[in-house]
Structures are given as C-alpha cells and as structure tokens.
C-alpha cells in the first residue's frame, strides 16, 4: 500500500527492478514493510530518530541562540547489497587500495611511475597534496593508507563505479555502526531471516591494524586517537572509535614531544604514545613542519615520525593519491603496479589541463559535473544540468584560469532507493562508502555508509548539503550462515 504509485523514474532502483517488482534479495524486506500500516512505519521512524536524540548524536544549528540541536537525517528502510555484488566490490576495493598504497610509496621514494611516464611528473609534483616533507619515508610495513573510504555510485545500468578515493581521514564509519545499532534497537523484527552481515567488529579490526603498524620494537604499543577537539563536526566519531577500541582520545594540547618521543600528559605524569590514529589534516599536525599557525597539532611530531618513534595513521602525504586529478589515472596506476585491469571502473573523467578535454568541458558544461581537484564535501562543484548560465560562465573562467585544478565527468543517473516521505515512498539518489583497513591484510567492512540526497532530484549526498543516511545491509549467502 505504501509503495503504491512508487515510480523509479527511469533510474536504477536499489529495491525494485525495471518492472517495479522487488528485487529477489529485497523481497523479504519488501513484504515486511508492506505488511505494516503506514502509521506503524512512521512510529518506527520516529523511534529511530528519538534514539539518535537520546544518544546525543546531534549537531547544533548555527546562528540559533536557543542552541537547537538536530540529528543527521536517517531513513529506516535499509539499502541492500547482495552477496554477489559485495564480492565484486570487495575484490575491487582490495585491488585499488593495494595499488594506491604502492603508488604513494613509489611517489615518495623512487618515482618509478613518473620516470616511466605513466603519469605526467608535473601533475604530481605540482599538486598541493604532494608533501615534500614525506620524501624518503618508510612507514612500518610500507603501509601509508591504513584507513580508506571509497565512494561508489551506480549508474543507470546498475554497474558500480568509483567516484572518488578518500585516503586522508575519511569519516562516517561511526554512523555505519550507529545506524545498525539504532535499527536493531528500534526495528528488530525486520532483520529476521535476512542474513545481514554484522559490522560491529570494525573497532576490533581497526585496533589490531593500528597495533600492527606500531614502530618496530614497541611491545604492547600504546595507541591513541588524535582529534582536533570537541567542536569538530566529526568529534562524535572520534570519541566513538576511541571508546570502542578502549584507547585514549587525545588533543594536540595533551601531547608533547620529549626526549625524542611523543608523550601524553596524564594524572600520573607523562606516558609514551606509539601509534596515533590522527583525525587532523596533514596541514595541521605539526606547526614546525606544516602550517605554523596550527594550534591543533603537536610541535615536533614529524621529527619523531621521521625517526620511526611514532606511527601515524594515515601516514602524512597520502592525499596525493586521492587528488581528483590523479583519480583519472588510477586505472593506469592499478595496471602499472599489479598488471591487472581495474575491477571497479572509474567514472569517465575529463582532465582540464589537457587542451582537448578542456575544450570539450567548456563546450558541454550543461551536461557535466565539474569538480575542483582539491575540494571535498561537495564544495567547489558544478552540477551542469542543474546550473544557471551565470554559474557556468563562472566555472568556465575558473577552469581557464587554473586548468590543473579542474576535472569534469558526465552527469551520472545515480541509482535511487526508496525513502519515507510523509505517508509514502519516493526514490532518492544514493551512493555507498565502504571502509577499508590496510594492516596485516586488507579488510573491507561488509557494509558501508549509504548516503541519500534527500532533496528531491538532488544528486549531492554530502551531509553538509542536505544529505541523510540509511543502514546498509550486505547480505551473506544463506548457506554460509550457521
């Protein structure tokens, strides 16, 4: 009844096939939801929202004197990923992260890939995210990008594409865990017989990985999470991860470099820290090496890091591999280091520093999505079909002034999933961010953050731009679950 009149609008729908029938993996979910009265579903939705409120997982609305707090929008109808789809995604992500890690190591050490002219050296050496200070570094086990969150999207054909790599300090994994917990608390019956793979082991995997990459010789290494502080928008996640790993959550002012080591101020004096899962950007981690005006970091941290007396996750300098300009070369990077073709394809990308591409981009702005190479969070972006002539003119000028900083992609018809709108369902565009840990082995968390563009017709899923989220169910094979 609730799904009556549901229209997939010609897009690939995560729940329904082209004929409007529920996909096989979603059939059980569909039956359960359809059996509920609409009032009932609304009650579950409200209970879930209340649970977020009670847990204080909120953000403050700026400019509101009464200090009104809101939760991040959450829709209780889960998004389903089948076991077969997940196998494909998982293999693709392992391959991609493995190759990108080799790429980073190469760039800061031998630069073979540049010497072999697979990538124009200028493009790398001129990137803002290239850190001279990291040249010659050998992090433990050669691992640079310990934690990554790769954004995937599906086009009209249902194929998964990589939209962007996040290899610096990707956030959102706490919402994956929290969304699941809230769903299990408020809407438990919907899980029955669905063989949803659990996500709750993430903190244990994270902790094991962080211990694995500790400096050589550190027996029972001390791990801590480094946060910019309580006013950071991802603070909840930082404290969440510290809590569930059972490690300290530190700020820059808790740390000091003494006798060549990083120490934290405790009630019993100074204690050594061996591994920092830092959630502060490269620019801010050490005022002596990077931005001197940073108040968030630790003076002298990089020197200790270079001496191999503290490990940083992710390593400084990983930003070079998720630069949007480098993105266009990732399939070549994968081929270069592994000899394999990329399992997960890139979205076709026009790079504006090549004259032919730039000309095409400038002539077809109304069809393309243009992105600034060094921005994230949905900023510095032009969605062609939704833009005004004036905005296109602005971008044209910006592109011609600094071609290195722009890429463009065809506007994808992102897949959609049903969300509750008042008393019925409407399709909204979604993406998927799975999380990958690189330690002794490469671990892909079976799940991920499904972000939803809640504004009707919008293609931008970022929470800063009116996006919400859904629980993401990766299904196990029924016979594999005992």
């Amino acid at each position: 009844m609730l799904f009556d009149g549901y229209d997939s609008g010609g897009f690939f729908d995560e729940m329904f096939d082209a004929q409007g029938n529920p996909r096989p993996a979603a059939r059980l979910l569909f039956q359960r939801v359809a059996a509920l009265g609409d009032g009932e579903l609304r009650r579950y939705q409200q209970a879930a929202e209340q649970a977020f409120f009670r847990a204080g997982i909120t953000f403050t609305v700026y400019g509101d004197e009464a200090g009104t707090e809101r939760i991040f929008p959450f829709d209780i109808i889960p998004r389903i990923v089948t076991a077969e789809e997940w196998d494909h995604i998982e293999r693709g992500l392992r391959q991609r992260v493995y190759a990108l890690n080799l790429f980073i190591d190469d760039i800061y050490n031998f630069q073979k890939i540049l010497k072999d002219r697979v990538i124009p050296p200028d493009l790398i050496l001129s990137a803002k995210s290239y850190r001279k200070a990291c040249a010659g570094l050998k992090p433990p086990h050669g691992i640079w990008c310990h934690i990554s969150g790769t954004d995937l999207v599906r086009d009209r054909d249902g194929e998964y594409y990589v939209l962007e790599d996040n290899l610096r300090t990707p956030s959102g994994v706490s919402y994956v865990l929290q969304n699941r917990e809230v769903m299990q608390r408020t809407f438990p019956q919907i899980f029955e017989q669905n063989h949803v793979r659990p996500v709750s082991a993430y903190p244990s995997h994270l902790y094991r990985m962080l211990q694995y990459v500790a400096p050589a010789g550190a027996t029972s290494p001390c791990v801590a999470v480094l946060t910019p502080g309580v006013y950071n928008s991802a603070y909840f996640e930082h404290s969440f991860l510290a809590k569930f790993m059972g490690v300290e959550l530190v700020e820059g002012r808790d740390l000091v470099v003494m006798d060549g080591y990083v120490m934290m101020r405790t009630t019993k004096g100074f204690e050594r820290v061996d591994v920092l899962y830092r959630r502060i950007d490269d620019d801010f981690i050490d005022p002596m090496t990077f931005r001197p005006d940073s108040l968030l970091g630790v003076s002298g941290l990089m020197e200790v890091y270079r001496a191999g007396r503290v490990s940083l996750a992710n390593a400084p300098g990983t930003g070079i591999a998720d630069d949007k300009a480098v993105y266009a070369y990732v399939p070549k990077i994968i081929k270069y280091y592994t000899g394999e073709d990329a399992i997960l394809p890139n979205v076709p990308t026009y790079v504006c520093w090549e004259d032919k591409d730039r000309q095409y981009v400038c002539d077809n702005l109304e069809k393309l999505v243009v992105k600034a190479a060094n921005e994230s969070g949905g900023y510095g972006m032009l969605v062609g079909p939704h833009s005004t002539a004036e905005q296109r003119e602005q971008f044209k000028r910006a592109i011609n002034a600094d071609p290195r900083n722009y890429i463009a992609q065809p506007t994808l018809g992102l897949s959609r999933a049903p969300v509750i709108v008042d008393d019925h369902f409407e399709g909204r565009h979604v993406d998927l961010r799975p999380y990958v840990l690189y330690g002794q082995e490469i671990f892909v968390l079976p799940g991920g953050l499904t972000r939803v563009a809640l504004k009707k017709g919008s293609l931008v899923v970022n929470s800063s731009q009116g996006g919400g989220s859904k629980d993401t169910w990766v299904l196990g094979r029924p016979e594999a679950v005992c």
Binding site: R54, G56, G67, V230, R253, R265, T267
Partner: protein, 329 residues
C-alpha cells in the same frame, strides 16, 4: 589517564552536584513560604547569597522577587551557576569524556539536559516551573550518580568524579548552613520561636537531612543540627562525611597513604579532615559558626586549586644536562 580527561570528569561531576543543590535551595524555600503563611515575608535574597551569585544578580535584575530569583537560579544562562548553566557545563564536559564514561551515563546527562531545555522553553512562554520540577532535577542528579556507581568501573576516573562531587557538596552544605544562620532569620527575636523551629527544619530539608536527623536526635536544636550537618561521619551530605570521602578518593588516585602527603591537595584535605575529626560542636559555636564555615570554604577552595595543580596542569620539565644542573646549583 589523560589530565584533560580527568579535569573534565571532575567538572562534569561538580556541575551535576551543583545543579542539584541549587534545585534543593529553591524547592525548600518555596515550601517554607507555604508553611509559614502570610506572616512570613518571603525571603529570596538569602538564596542568592547561599549560591554566591548576588553580584551577577544585581547586574541583571531589580528586585529579588520570587520570580526573578527562580528564573535567575534556574534558567538564566548569564548566571554561570544556574541549574541550566551547570547541566550544560556538565554535558559539555561529558561530551569531552564520552569515550571514557559509559553510554548509560551519557544518556542520563543528555536526558537531564533535554528536560531542562524543555523547562526553559516553558519558562520563556510564561509557564512557571512546577514544584515537581525541582524535585525532578534532584532525582535526575541522583539517577546520574546511581548510574555512574553501577555502570562505571570504580577506577581512577570514577574517583575523580567522586572527589569532585564531595568537594562540591561540602561547599554547598556549608553555604546553606551559613546562609540560614545569618540571613534566613527575619530577626533576632525569632530565635527560639516556633518560626525558628520551622526555619531549622528547612535547613535540614534542603540538605535532605530531616528524616535522618530525626532518627538520631529527635528534637530540633541548633547545636544538634550543626553537629549533624557539619560533623556527622555517615550522613552523606554532612561536611565531615564529604571531606573524608573526598580525601579517600584523592588517596585512591595518588596511592599516598593516609596521614601523609605528597602534594598540596593531599595536605589541604588531610588538614581539614583532622580538624573535622577532632573538633567539638561546642568549640565551633564558641568560635562562631560563621567563622568556622568561612574557614572551611576557604580551605575547600585551596584544596580545589591544589587538585588542579597536582593533576590537571602538568607542565613538561625541560631535560637538563648534568652540566646545566651543576651551574644551577
């Protein structure tokens, strides 16, 4: 544990206790005015002295009317010690400590805060806070302490919370006793009158001590009440009990044996314990209750500063070579 985390646990706990005490003051004073009837002139000014915020009040309000004082002490964000400010402060600190405290504790603080926000919202629309409102504030604080005791490991962080709670409570009990003695009394004539009985009862009630006092002493007498609220070792809001508990937690944190000290915090608290352990109520009254309480508050403040210096404000010591050391000496 991290000094910064210890510090915010300490303040989280103090702020919760502070909110509870302010609510008690208001609750009892409202009740008092009902019991004494029209002959009694409502006394709201002493509440301001008891919480120590007269100066800020006169800055923002004309008269210490019931409505003004209640608004100021309950919801006014300009008053750093109002119930709402205290609970907001507790919640901000809890947010910092979220990875350290239990989910149950965090949820209770959050509930407490949302409850007060609702009250503030009503007050802004002219709906007066119900009597039950203040009782509920007290209960919310008790609930928090109970949840903390039964869900959190009784480790260093827990001891910092317990230390803070007893420091705050000792201070507040001394203040309310002090306020009664000098301000709650309408005039000297009232000493020994039936009013006096009711006023002393109010002091006992505002510290939740009425029933427990009755069990021990039956009749109302100022000396006995002072003895009970200052020197009792077992009543949880008596100053001596609070100071002894604070001292116990301090030593559980540092590992310093009783009867000795290794920092100024242990020294201050240890001294205050000794004083409270060995003084007689007749000596307190002979010296003057106000002077005694004033001195106790001063020493509690000094102990608070010393705790800050000993545990929260750790500074790196520059490493000096043998050579430099030689020159210095």
């Amino acid at each position: 544990m991290l000094s910064r985390v210890a510090e915010s646990l300490y303040w989280m706990s103090r702020y919760i206790e502070r909110a509870e005490n302010v609510a008690r003051f208001i609750y009892v004073n409202t009740w008092l005015s009902l019991d004494l009837g029209s002959e009694y002139i409502e006394q709201w000014k002493p509440l301001l002295s008891a919480s120590g915020d007269d100066a800020i009040f006169t800055e923002h309000y004309d008269q210490p009317t019931k409505q003004n004082v209640i608004q100021f002490l309950t919801f006014d964000a300009r008053n750093p010690n109002s119930i709402l400010s205290s609970v907001t402060g507790a919640r901000e600190n809890a947010r910092i400590d979220r990875q350290y405290i239990t989910l149950e504790m965090w949820e209770q603080i959050n509930r407490f805060y949302l409850f007060l926000r609702g009250g503030a919202h009503d007050a802004a629309r002219g709906i007066e806070a119900h009597q039950d409102f203040f009782a509920e504030v007290t209960t919310a604080s008790h609930l928090f302490v109970g949840i903390m005791d039964s869900t959190m490991t009784h480790n260093e962080g827990w001891h910092f919370c317990r230390l803070a709670r007893h420091m705050e409570r000792a201070d507040k009990t001394s203040r309310i006793l002090d306020a009664k003695y000098f301000l709650l009394l309408p005039s000297v004539d009232a000493v020994g009158s039936p009013y006096d009985d009711i006023l002393w009862t109010a002091v006992l009630r505002s510290t939740s001590a009425f029933e427990m006092y009755r069990k021990q002493f039956q009749s109302i007498s100022p000396d006995r009440i002072v003895e009970f609220l200052v020197l009792d070792g077992d009543f949880p809001r008596a100053i001596r009990h609070c100071v002894l508990s604070a001292d116990n937690s301090l030593r559980a944190i540092s590992g310093t044996p009783k009867g000795t000290f290794r920092n100024a915090a242990e020294q201050q608290l240890g001294r205050l314990c000794a004083e409270l352990n060995y003084v007689r109520v007749s000596e307190i009254m002979g010296r003057g209750l106000h002077e005694f309480l004033d001195d106790a508050q001063l020493r509690l403040n000094l102990a608070g500063e010393a705790i800050h210096n000993a545990f929260f404000a750790l500074q790196p010591v520059p490493v000096m070579s043998q050579y430099q050391r030689g020159i210095k000496e």
